[in-house]
């Protein structure tokens, strides 16, 4: 079994870009949880990190939008955002083309995935990496689910993608960590930014921790949009990790609404 870690975290650009505007105690609690997540990934012995992202039109656009994509490169540049705005300097993150190729070939057996030999990271990956591999010493394999440009990837296909990723991770000799990144309820980058449906978030995370497939796939986009905003579409990444964890129970390590970061900032993992 080569999957050694599975978890999820938030990726809101405010986490790094507007750090000075948040309640310092809550913010520092979030940062501490991110640091523990980094320690857990390191302790797992992971040799590569698959990041399942919900990217925001950094690489994929409505001219040719893939439901799923996986990176196939030795290096990835980021962030595409103004460095000062995001609070993260320009970087070049290491990939592993050979490992990516083996993962992609295996995933393709059960999920139709696009591959990308070029991939620029936006905040959706850059913010997590800022905390999880701050010295860029672990190869990253970026993966993406279309959570932004409707028609969106169906939830049950996101689940199947997670199962495909699990099979692929288990098929390679390397130890693999997988992290899904996304918001839960939020209305990012709109005049409603800062609005958070905390009760909805808690209920979602309860389903996530029970790893209850039926409950996780019971959402529909119109209800999600009404209750959790267009940012809620990013639950696809969390659901993908649930499938990758293959029924394991989960634990929420941190979940607090931080309005200036526009989301219930969340760190959670599965006990594989």
């Amino acid at each position: 079994m080569a999957l050694v870690y599975a978890g999820v975290c938030s990726h809101a650009p405010g986490i790094t870009g507007r750090a000075d505007q948040a309640d310092p105690d809550v913010r520092d609690g979030l940062y501490a949880a991110f640091h523990r997540m980094r320690e857990d990934i390191e302790a797992s012995g992971a040799e590569a990190l698959i990041v399942v992202a919900a990217e925001h039109f950094a690489n994929f656009f409505m001219d040719n939008m893939p439901s799923f994509a996986i990176g196939l490169a030795d290096f990835y540049d980021g962030p595409i955002e103004d460095a000062q705005w995001l609070g993260i300097d320009k970087f070049c993150a290491p990939g592993n083309r050979d490992l990516s190729q083996r993962i992609i070939v295996e995933v393709m057996q059960t999920s139709d995935v696009a591959y990308a030999e070029e991939w620029k990271f936006d905040h959706g990956i850059a913010v997590p990496l800022h905390f999880l591999t701050p010295s860029f010493d672990m190869p990253i394999i970026p993966a993406n689910i279309n959570c932004q440009g409707p028609p969106l990837t169906p939830l049950h296909r996101s689940w199947a993608f997670g199962e495909s990723l699990r099979r692929a991770a288990d098929a390679v000799p390397e130890k693999i960590a997988i992290v899904g990144t996304g918001g839960i309820s939020h209305w990012p980058a709109t005049p409603d930014s800062g609005k958070i449906n905390e009760a909805w978030d808690r209920d979602f995370l309860d389903r996530w921790c029970r790893n209850d497939r039926d409950a996780l796939l019971a959402y529909d986009d119109l209800t999600v949009y009404a209750d959790a905003g267009q940012g809620g579409f990013e639950i696809r990444t969390f659901i993908c990790i649930s499938a990758a964890a293959a029924g394991a129970p989960g634990t929420v390590h941190f979940c607090e609404p931080i309005p200036i970061f526009a989301v219930s900032c969340t760190i959670a993992s599965y006990d594989l």
Partner: protein
């Protein structure tokens, strides 16, 4: 209405530093290859964040464009809200899908 091309231009601008330099030098000139209405051209040249939001530009695209113009976060949110107040509900795109009217109860 050519929301697709407005967003396509912004998508390319956001990720391409060379295009950013061209846009800097000649905002109107870089738009010639895109099928845009006069209203859309003016919104992109100004830039008019509120109008672009009203036209339906996805906030994830608009946010990066605002950052490119060094528009501070609360100012960015304010401009979008002002755009809705001035022009009315979002016309098209993901926010118009279910009748999003701009500002919900906080």
């Amino acid at each position: 209405m050519s929301l697709y091309y407005v967003q396509k231009f912004l998508y390319q601008l956001n990720r391409d530093e060379a295009l950013q330099e061209q846009y800097d030098a000649d905002r109107r000139g870089v738009l010639t290859g895109y099928e845009l209405t006069d209203e859309e051209v003016e919104a992109l040249v100004a830039p008019d964040i509120g109008l672009l939001f009203h036209l339906g530009v996805n906030g994830q695209i608009l946010m990066h464009f605002a950052a490119l113009h060094q528009i501070e976060w609360t100012d960015y949110l304010q401009r979008m809200g002002d755009g809705i107040a001035k022009h009315g509900p979002v016309r098209e795109g993901v926010y118009a899908m279910t009748g999003y009217e701009g500002v919900g109860e906080a």
